[in-house]
């Protein structure tokens, strides 16, 4: 069981039903002004972005190997077995390393609050585990956003790419970007043209820091022995000099 969302920008008509459904679910304010903002913020956890005559969506991509989860010093961010990356505000101390780490700019911050929290999409984990689709999926009139098992979503994406090959740029975004994501995307143009980063490694981002972190036990053990040894030798030398001085 691993949920995923498939967003097909070729089917998106920019009606913003997903935005308002999302705002309603989180009890965030929503009006024409907020609709026009077109960027993620603490009060807008998903947004439609107009790219010329095309529309795309921004939201947390729910990476399979999330950089934010590995970044968080207090484990406030977790990748659930069900797929969504969730956030526990009670733990968060507000270091904002998750925001620096994220390749998609998904975590946002309550910059003007006295006790601020990070805000991000949780892929409606409470709805999905109750067997319901995400709020954005339910609101989408055009099947541009659909959700379900990740394998099923990949199969659906492949089917769409095969059935109308001319309508699509032949690639599923999120299959292996930085280790893969639980939000998959389709587009008629290369993905950087709809604002997705094209420079991500295939490897999960946490691997990059882990290669340094995993050296720590070695540094501690070898370092302690080495420093202890150097201390012993240099001070022993001094003692020997002293003792010999006394003898002669």
């Amino acid at each position: 069981m691993a949920f995923a969302i498939l967003f097909d920008s070729t089917k998106c008509v920019g009606c913003r039903s997903c935005e308002s459904a999302c705002a309603e679910k989180w009890k965030n304010p929503y009006d024409d002004k907020i609709a026009a903002e077109e960027r993620l913020s603490a009060h807008k956890l998903t947004t439609v972005v107009t790219k010329g005559d095309k529309f795309t969506r921004k939201l947390c991509m729910h990476c399979l190997e999330p950089a934010c989860v590995s970044a968080c010093p207090v484990g406030a961010l977790q990748k659930t077995a069900a797929g969504p990356v969730i956030y526990e505000a009670e733990k968060c101390m507000g270091c904002r390393y998750c925001m620096t780490a994220c390749a998609y700019g998904a975590p946002t911050y309550e910059w003007n609050a006295r006790a601020p929290k990070v805000r991000k999409c949780n892929m409606c984990i409470e709805r999905q585990t109750a067997g319901k689709p995400t709020a954005c999926t339910e609101a989408c009139p055009n099947e541009a956003t659909v959700c379900g098992e990740r394998e099923a979503m990949i199969a659906l994406a492949k089917k769409r790419l095969a059935e109308t090959p001319d309508a699509y740029y032949q690639k599923i975004y999120g299959l292996d970007e930085a280790g893969g994501t639980s939000v998959l995307m389709l587009s008629s143009v290369p993905f950087e043209q709809i604002g997705l980063p094209a420079n991500l490694p295939k490897e999960g981002l946490p691997d990059f820091t882990w290669r340094a972190l995993e050296l720590i036990p070695n540094i501690v053990s070898v370092g302690t022995v080495l420093l202890g040894g150097v201390y012993w030798i240099t001070h022993r030398r001094q003692e020997v000099v002293k003792a010999e001085g006394r003898l002669s």
């Binding site: 913020s41 970044a71 968080c72 507000g94 270091c95 780490a101 490694p201 240099t234």
Partner: protein
Amino acid sequence: MNTLRTYRFTFWRAVFGALLLAGAYATYLRFMYGLGAVTNLNDQFPWGIWIGFDILCGVGLAAGGFTLVATVHIFNIEKYKPVLRPAVLTAFLGYLLVIFALMFDLGRPDRIWHPLIMWNPRSVMFEVGWCVTLYTTVLFLEFTPAVFEKLRWHAPLRWFRMISVPLMIAGVILSTLHQSSLGSLFLLVPHKLDKLWYSSFLPLFFFISAIAVGMAMTIFESWHSSKAFGRQLEGPLLASLASVLAVVQSTYVAMRLADLQHRHAWSLLAESRIETWLFLLELGLITLPLALLFQARVRKNPRALYWAALMVIFGFITNRLNISVTGIERASGVSYVPKWTEVAVTLAIIGIGFGLFRLAAKHLPIFEEPDVHGEKVTPAKLRALRVA
């Protein structure tokens, strides 16, 4: 002469007062109205100079503590003993100020203790948090003997002597870990940090440059202490510290250049971008002092040596700001210039640092050298030794 002194004193006192006032007002705004009101940070650019300067530079500039503890006590190179106390003091004050500065940047400073309870061993930030906490404790324990000596409490001094060796080793290991880990923080953003700076050797570069800047800071402080109290480190000692600095800094520069070569990144310098110029500025500031430090004439001239040390320090600061601010800006798609309140808090913290160091150097046995390990040397005995 006397009037000149008074003037200098009141001038700096006025600067200090102004910095504190501005800082206090910015602090009020920060805690009343939140980060958004006092910083130019936003969702696209979540870290500014409070992380880039206060934390990344602060921790590095305080690195003299662990390198000199290792040199004097572990490698037993006794001639550097007079440098030890000022270096440990800088380190201790530095770390306290870093933690103080962090309280401004954290969204929830009341939860600064969370990483001690809520673990995520896969997080570099978690490791940095633990190391900084533990190392500040170590520095506290390494520094307290100076206070006890002042108070003439001999019993606790014996206790400190007992635990000092494991403590020092722990301090060196902890420093090695978190100085390098501050570089590891940026390993997570290969997609954001400009190719001029992103390298898998970032942790190593952070570590080596911290060692170099720690020594440069010691030279810097000795100069200022001599200006303020006429107390300073002896010329030959400073000169020898400078030659070690020259070796460490040239290793650092060589590694940076080899890394550029290895990553085939030289061609990036052909592009006329703001990043190129800042990179060249950094490269100049870390390379130029070498030309000075390798000359015996410079090492023996306190003023020239001071300028060389200052260049090492500014090169270091440029590097940290390039990696945490300018090198990230392009990928974030926004341009960040710190708000006056961010600058005010940072300057006030620097001011507090100078003030505290001054107080401690004036009232505690810092630039005279009684020691935890060997015999207790009183200033009188020291003078006698010098005469002899």
